[in-house]
Symmetry: none
């Protein structure tokens, strides 16, 4: 079953608002077995809406349309839809009563704009909106379905969750789809693809593979469709096992799990706590860790030692080390890691020191050179990395590499 | 001039990734005078790409296409584009050399997948990519232009900023547009809009106003089109002056300047340095500061004191203060600010302590309660904030509010 999602609104076309409705609806439709073939954002005018309906209605089993239903002058959508489906308008007492109770619930009062929401196309089945004033509208034509929803995300999601998901599942014969995402770090997209060429070539028919790269992290998504969910799950699981045999050292987790969550779980299992000593990463490691709710159970804190004075005063890095080897050196990061364990009273630590750029590079230590240390009860290890020229990327990649160095060190404990 | 943006990738259609490229490119194209009429996301397969080109190429002056250019097997866009424009492929030594220098810059090695990037359609003008391996490709057909860019946001933005924007402006007859963006913080969108109602109503014809809100920061973009650039600039400048008279206390800068850059400049003028003591912000303030190149001239470092032990040991917060007032209190954040100035040897400091959520709230201090302190040579000030329920937003808003509290305190020095 094919679906297309159409979002209506000029704010999307001038880049004022990022369209998050499409991704949310796409995920929901995918989860119940639809294949979303397009998402489209269009302007809030009659011609654009009609053109989109003419193009995408015939080639989809389901169109989901959001936006253009607001209470102000943009009630065009409703009228265009009524015309498209050859329908007049009717006044719905049910919708009026919903609107009245919503409006009084937020301590506001009815006006002409609100009352207009009760004027709906005769051809439409109304989907009640308990989260705002614009009802959803369900249309059928030549065995194709179109559903119009308000553009405000929480209203759209509310109608979908309350009623629409169930109604869609009841209306269509949907296959089972299974996805599994394998999370990689410590390897680039191209080298990973090279290692997996043979595996990809020998995959059973019907299994799809997508590389979803972001700086420092690659998500490899396996997908399969079929009639028997548990059989598909088994096929996917077998392929994940094969993957593990080929490239296990780069796999840190599954299904969008964050690297920091994985390390946090390892620390919790040990009843241990982490601290970070950050020079070039400037607090990003700590910030990524503390974005995880509940991290206070395993994270003590961080010393962001941007100046050499702070490295000496707070982390106990020896002046002669800085003098002899420089701030960006194996000796310095190891002392930083040891220093923050002592200062913050943690069992494990990571430390970073590097040249993020754009300035500060030398022929021996060009921009992108980063030393990273990981330390724990029985080990201190350090590794040199060479990232690129872009400051933001060097900081981000260093943060990920530091947590991965700790993870790998802990695995070897 | 009409433009459509097409983003390619199955990850967009299963809702795994929110398409942010479209909004970014739409804002950029709007800023140089294009009308973006559609944004469309499609699957990474030949038929979908050909259908989209057939539909949207004739009705647009410019198509921008992102994605589908990666080095792995799921990327076939390049081939489809070559076919569509009736072109064979050629091997580009220039692209190969760019790819080689990028790959060696990140400490990786060339393989077959990387080398493939140098195989480009003969009909395309190559746009060099200094931020990754996939070059941009510029095609012309029947006076319509299509440009294909990599899907990775920072590579796409890099190519656009390095070369593409200028090339587009040179290719099309675009009206002169002048934009000026006024940066606000410390006020919400609705209250700001309310304060500016009278001003908006009395604006001269032809001046457009757009509110571009993000958490903690509102950008108000004034725009005007015309034939005489300097006359338009003058009109816009006058309106900015009027704005300053109405809401100056919420204006921190102009034209996408970061709050951290503004504070950094104030510190540089004073020859002074900053340190941060962060509990609930978890290093995000330091991370935002260190994203700015050259910040080492005015930033010493940070103590991320996620545990009370670190607050006591490294920041000298008194145990009796924590006992009597709690970690989230005026007394604690003031001592944290004083402590980090001492420890890091800085002249100024900010400190944060709050309940980011989702857990840890009490009836007296619900989730979203945050105390923030700013301190300098002659002052220590603290302020309580009540943000919302969402952890990520509480952390982000606290980080912005802390730098703004420091900025305002420094203005009063």
């Amino acid at each position: 079953m094919n679906a297309t999602i159409i979002t209506i609104g000029d704010e999307l076309l001038i880049g004022q608002v990022v369209d998050t409705n499409s991704a949310w609806l796409a995920a929901e439709l995918t989860a119940i077995g639809f294949r979303v073939v397009n998402t489209l954002s269009i302007s809030d005018n009659g011609e654009a809406i009609r053109t989109a309906l003419d193009r995408y209605m015939p080639e989809n089993d389901l169109l989901l349309i959001t936006g253009g239903l607001g209470p102000t002058n943009d009630d065009i959508t409703r009228k265009i839809l009524a015309d498209y489906f050859g329908s007049g308008m009717r006044f719905s007492e049910e919708v009026l009563s919903d609107v009245e109770s919503f409006i009084s619930g937020i301590g506001s009062y009815m006006n002409e704009h609100n009352r207009k929401q009760a004027l709906v196309p005769e051809a439409a089945v109304v989907l009640r909106n308990q989260h705002g004033t614009a009802p959803g509208l369900w249309f059928e034509k030549d065995n194709h379905t179109a559903v119009s929803l308000p553009g405000v995300p929480h209203e759209m999601k509310g109608i979908f969750n309350d009623e629409l998901r169930t109604k869609i599942i009841g209306r269509f014969k949907l296959p089972d789809i299974v996805y599994k995402t394998v999370m990689f770090t410590g390897i680039g997209e191209a080298p990973l693809a090279e290692k997996l060429t043979g595996w990809e070539d020998s995959l059973p028919r019907g299994i799809s593979v997508a590389y979803l790269p972001s700086p420092g992290i690659i998500r490899l998504r396996l997908g399969a469709t079929g009639e028997d969910r548990s059989a598909i799950e088994k096929v996917i699981e077998q392929q994940v096992e094969t993957l593990k045999q080929i490239v296990s050292k780069y796999i840190y987790g599954y299904d969008d799990e964050k690297l920091e969550e994985v390390v946090g779980r390892m620390l919790l299992e040990r009843g241990a706590a982490l601290a970070t000593a950050e020079s070039c990463t400037g607090g990003l490691i700590a910030s990524r860790i503390t974005s995880i709710a509940g991290c206070s159970a395993w994270f003590r804190g961080s010393v962001v030692a941007y100046s050499n004075e702070v490295k000496k005063e707070l982390l106990g890095v020896k002046p002669e080390t800085l003098m002899k080897y420089g701030a960006v050196s194996e000796e310095t990061v190891k002392q930083m890691a040891a220093g923050v364990m002592r200062a913050a009273g943690s069992d494990y630590a990571v430390a970073t020191s590097g040249i993020a750029g754009p300035d500060g590079g030398t022929p021996e230590k060009p921009v992108g050179t980063v030393w990273i240390a990981a330390a724990g009860p029985g080990f201190t290890t350090a590794k040199k990395f060479s990232f690129g020229q872009v400051r933001e990327m060097n900081i981000l990649r260093s943060s990920i590499a530091a947590m991965n160095l700790l993870r790998k060190s802990m695995l070897e404990e």
